[in-house]
Amino acid sequence: MTAASRRAPANALPRILGPIRPRPRWTEARLLALAAIALVVGSVSLRLGLEGEFGLANAAGLGIYLGALGLAHLAQVLAGRRTDQVLLPVVGLLGGISLLLMQRLPQGLVTLGEGEAALGLGDVQLVWLVLGIAVTTTIAIVVRSDAWLRRYKYTWAAVGIALLLLTFIFGADVAGQRLTLRLGPIGGQPSELLKVILVVFLAGYLSENRPLLIEQDTRLGPLRLPPLPYLAPMVAMWAIALGIVVIQRDLGAALLFFAVFLALTYAATGRLSLVVIGLVLFLAGSALMANLFEHVRDRIDIWLDPFADPLGAGYQIVQSLHAFARGGLLGTGLGNGLPMVGGRLPIPEIHTDFPLAALGEELGLVGVIAILGLYFVVIQRGLRIGASAADDFRAILATGLALIVGVQAFIIAAGNLKVLPLTGVTLPFVSYGGSSLLANAVVVGLLLALSDRGVEPPPPPSSATGWRRRIQRGSA
């Protein structure tokens, strides 16, 4: 017995920590360099659009951001893990586009502090972006075991529900929605973090019960269902989603939770019947909501025909569509769009709910499709990590994390484009907002950690005697 083997962790998993040695990440370096070039060109274009002169728009801000990305890359090189090399550049480019957009919008939309030291929209977003990069990198390097997630899934679920309840009770009402929880000077939207916790819980629950959910049947008419007691979480989820809509008036979060839940359940069990039931429940719930609650019905009416009241209820979405139309194919160019009328931006809440419309105007359809493509790469990467994960828990977790990003991006983009009713979720990595950026940073960090393909070459067995015995046997 060597000392190393005695330190075997209590969770019965072997140490996978090998000796740390730097490992170059050339793909990541090349992609990051390309992203940096693109962002510098974008910044020049923005300065030209805003002021008509050459140079970088807010050179210091861009420098800090690119520096942070570079440091994140270096840190991962030093850590030497064989993690994914595509996610960081892609998300970094999205964050950079977000930075350009926030620098371009009127800085007074958000201010932190007072007087000369006050930070405007672009600066505040920069702070959150850099914090997000730090969080992502830290998680990507430090998280080597998923036991703490796997083990305590019910604890996580409890934490999530506690967060939700706290928001219900102590949350501050903003624009009729109770989403923000304040703790002294720090405010945040727990629902952003809740979605990550939810996926962790689901991954734990589904991976543990996967055999059962697949194997056993309860017949209900033509449907073959898993044993009914195991459907309880689904019903619970449904109830939570309804609760969110009713109490928090947050249709977007409810839609996101439900869609991720359904997709994940399908991914884990391969049972279409569950998806069918989920959709039926969803439609029934929606119909019920639309009948019971005016704000839900209003949202749906606005969605069906925003042009019926273009200056009132339908204003935001109509203006969003106008922005896409003004952009056309190639866009007006960064800094050239978004005509101000009476000193106001054409779309209210543009920095949180409509960044895609703003980008649609200034970068055009071509730019929007590129941005959708970036999201698609993130999703594809996440699902790929899931598909090649070592076990069910990791597979479901990675799939769920990818789904959070993908479904959320879809919901808000669809809202901007009148494909779905508009709901107030953020565009991951692009919308302004600390909670959203940090929560998505956690998602990316976890995906990176999960993508670790182990250390190569295989570590020597910690027991020297093992080698010796093997050699002896081989020579014998």
Partner: protein, 146 residues
């Protein structure tokens, strides 16, 4: 056309073009990755066949497709449950790292044996090797080609 205007044009188009160049490079590296994955052998790196099991749990002759980490022991939370009086709750773990299999005895009461020899700490395991836990004997084999 005003040359300054032309420069503005070019820079705007360049930004869009760079976005697509980036996407193209990303997709390129994803495809390379996929091709590499396609060359790897089947999903499971190996399987464990039950050679002898007096208690019938696991039943003899049964084969388990192995994940990268497979725990063995008497507790139901183990990936392979060994219902044997001489097995510990958390008895041993099989891990696949790089391209090799390792077995680690989790300080079980009665020890883990490879081809009849007691395992101390982590020990490499080859295909065809037999692992004994209590009275249960299991053999590591290559995964069936899918």
């Amino acid at each position: 056309m005003d040359p300054f205007l032309l420069v503005i044009w070019i820079i705007r188009l360049l930004f869009l073009a760079l976005l697509y160049l980036f996407l193209a490079r990303v997709v390129g590296s994803l495809l390379r990755d996929l091709r590499a994955a396609a060359r790897e052998p089947g999903a499971s790196p190996g399987r464990l066949v039950v050679v002898e099991s007096p208690a019938g749990e696991p039943e003899a002759g049964r084969s388990f497709d192995l994940d990268a980490i497979t725990t063995l022991g008497r507790d139901v939370n183990n990936a392979i449950v060994i219902d044997d009086p001489f097995a510990s709750t958390e008895h041993a773990v099989l891990t696949f790292r790089g391209r090799s299999w390792y077995v680690e005895d989790l300080e079980s009461t009665n020890g883990t044996f490879v081809n009849g020899r007691a395992v101390a700490g982590v020990s490499p395991l080859g295909f065809g090797d037999e692992v004994s836990i209590g009275q249960v004997r299991l053999r590591l084999e290559r995964a069936r080609s899918t």
